[in-house]
């Protein structure tokens, strides 16, 4: 009896060990395939730029030299070619930026989120002034991240809130709540909002909800936000009501240095 149960125990132990080994192997495979994909995106976007620059330059040269000298369809075709090449150039540039996100996480340090927000606001000052945007933010914590990337997240979220504004001057509130092991940030606006069926898809690279004539852009901003936040082990999502506004929420792990939290801090612009 004792022999039998010892045998059973051993079999169970072996099975468990096999499952653990399999899982470790799968994790390693996934990590490798991720690295390869990143490398692929980087190489593809980098090496595509050179021939693309030739297409763009020479179609523009054609347009410059032969506009009005051929017939009307020819002018139109050249215009389509120039436009397509230019758009592809910005797509390739964006892909390069996106693929670089994963290559910077070795540069993490204690980062004051207040400073990151200030940098984002400074980079957007023209848009903020022109749209008469008013931004308030809580006293924000210190987190362990790459400071440039955190400023980028705030810049993309604030920039979107301004871009997709409603009829009234944009009001943006940045608040933070302490959760057990993480910080929960919210960026709330009074913009046009997003229909519930699109709230997931907007974080996918090159996903756009509007035509380029309505709102310019390639649909890269939120994809970059998600990639940055997820690489720190955080999550990002949105809740929204059409015609009322959106709240983008994201979490970042709480670091040792960042255990202070403050009151409302008005930053009128």
């Amino acid at each position: 009896m004792a022999v039998l149960s010892a045998l059973q125990e051993k079999r169970l132990r072996d099975e468990r060990q096999r499952a653990v080994d399999d899982l470790a192997k799968k994790v390693e495979e996934l990590a490798r395939s991720n690295r390869e994909l990143e490398q692929f995106a980087y190489v593809a976007s980098h090496d595509l730029q050179e021939p693309l620059r030739m297409v763009a330059a020479y179609t523009q040269l054609l347009a410059e030299r032969y506009k009005g000298k051929l017939d009307e369809p020819a002018d139109k075709y050249i215009h389509y070619a120039v436009d397509g090449a230019k758009r592809m150039q910005t797509l390739v540039q964006d892909l390069l930026v996106f693929s670089r996100v994963g290559r910077l996480n070795s540069e993490n340090r204690d980062t004051d989120c207040n400073v990151a927000v200030e940098i984002a606001i400074a980079n957007l000052q023209v848009a903020i002034r022109e749209s008469d945007t008013h931004i308030t933010h809580d006293y924000l914590p210190v987190v362990l991240v790459n400071p440039t990337q955190l400023a980028q997240v705030f810049q993309n979220l604030i920039g979107n809130a301004i871009k997709f504004r409603g009829p009234k001057a944009p009001q943006i509130q940045i608040t933070v709540e302490k959760q057990p092991d993480e910080w929960l940030f919210s960026v709330t606006d009074n913009g046009i909002g997003i229909a519930p069926e699109y709230c997931q898809g907007i974080f996918v690279i090159f996903k756009r909800l509007h035509t380029r004539t309505e709102y310019p852009g390639n649909g890269i901003g939120l994809a970059i936000c998600r990639k940055i936040i997820e690489q720190y082990g955080g999550r990002i999502w949105v809740t929204s009501q059409e015609g009322v506004g959106s709240t983008f929420k994201f979490t970042l792990p709480a670091s040792e240095a960042g255990s202070r939290q403050g009151q409302n801090h008005d930053d009128r612009r």
């Binding site: 730029q49 050179e50 030739m54 330059a57 020479y58 040269l61």
Partner: protein, 147 residues
């Protein structure tokens, strides 16, 4: 006034050579533009070897980085380590925006680094700026002439 001079363009892409030469011909630059297609040719040209026995020393070298045979970095290192060549200004003109390429070029002694812009107007402006600076604004080294 723009000084006359000679520019050596080093680039393996004929479309890029044509484009740069086209932009140079639009400005007031009235000197010669010579072109070579790889790093080994560039060095032969600069040392007046083989078919380049009758070549002039250029006043400015405009150098692409990614070249077949000897690449741009090797040409740059060669020029800046050769006592007879090192005074010739070298403008690196490359598609690369990588910090590593920019820093590396300056470390090897490049006189400036210009990224080839993707837009035609900006490309034209970049070429014009290079020629304006080196042939109008800057003073170039001259061999002392016996009177």
């Amino acid at each position: 006034m723009m000084t006359a001079g000679e520019i050596l363009l080093v680039d393996d892409n004929p479309a890029d050579l044509d484009l740069t030469a086209e932009m140079l011909s639009r400005g007031e630059f009235c000197g010669q533009v010579r072109t070579v297609n790889d790093g080994a040719e560039a060095i032969a040209f600069l040392h007046r070897q083989g078919k380049y026995a009758g070549a002039q020393r250029p006043d400015l070298i405009v150098l692409d980085l990614n070249l077949p045979k000897k690449d741009g970095r090797a040409v740059l290192a060669h020029v800046k380590n050769d006592p007879a060549l090192r005074k010739t200004p070298v403008v690196v003109f490359s598609t690369s925006q990588a910090a590593r390429d920019i820093l590396g070029s300056y470390e090897l002694g490049a006189n400036s680094y210009v990224t080839k812009p993707g837009d035609l107007q900006e490309f034209a402006l970049a070429v014009k700026s290079i020629q304006d600076f080196w042939f109008r604004c800057a003073r170039l080294p001259q061999e002392e002439k016996q009177l």
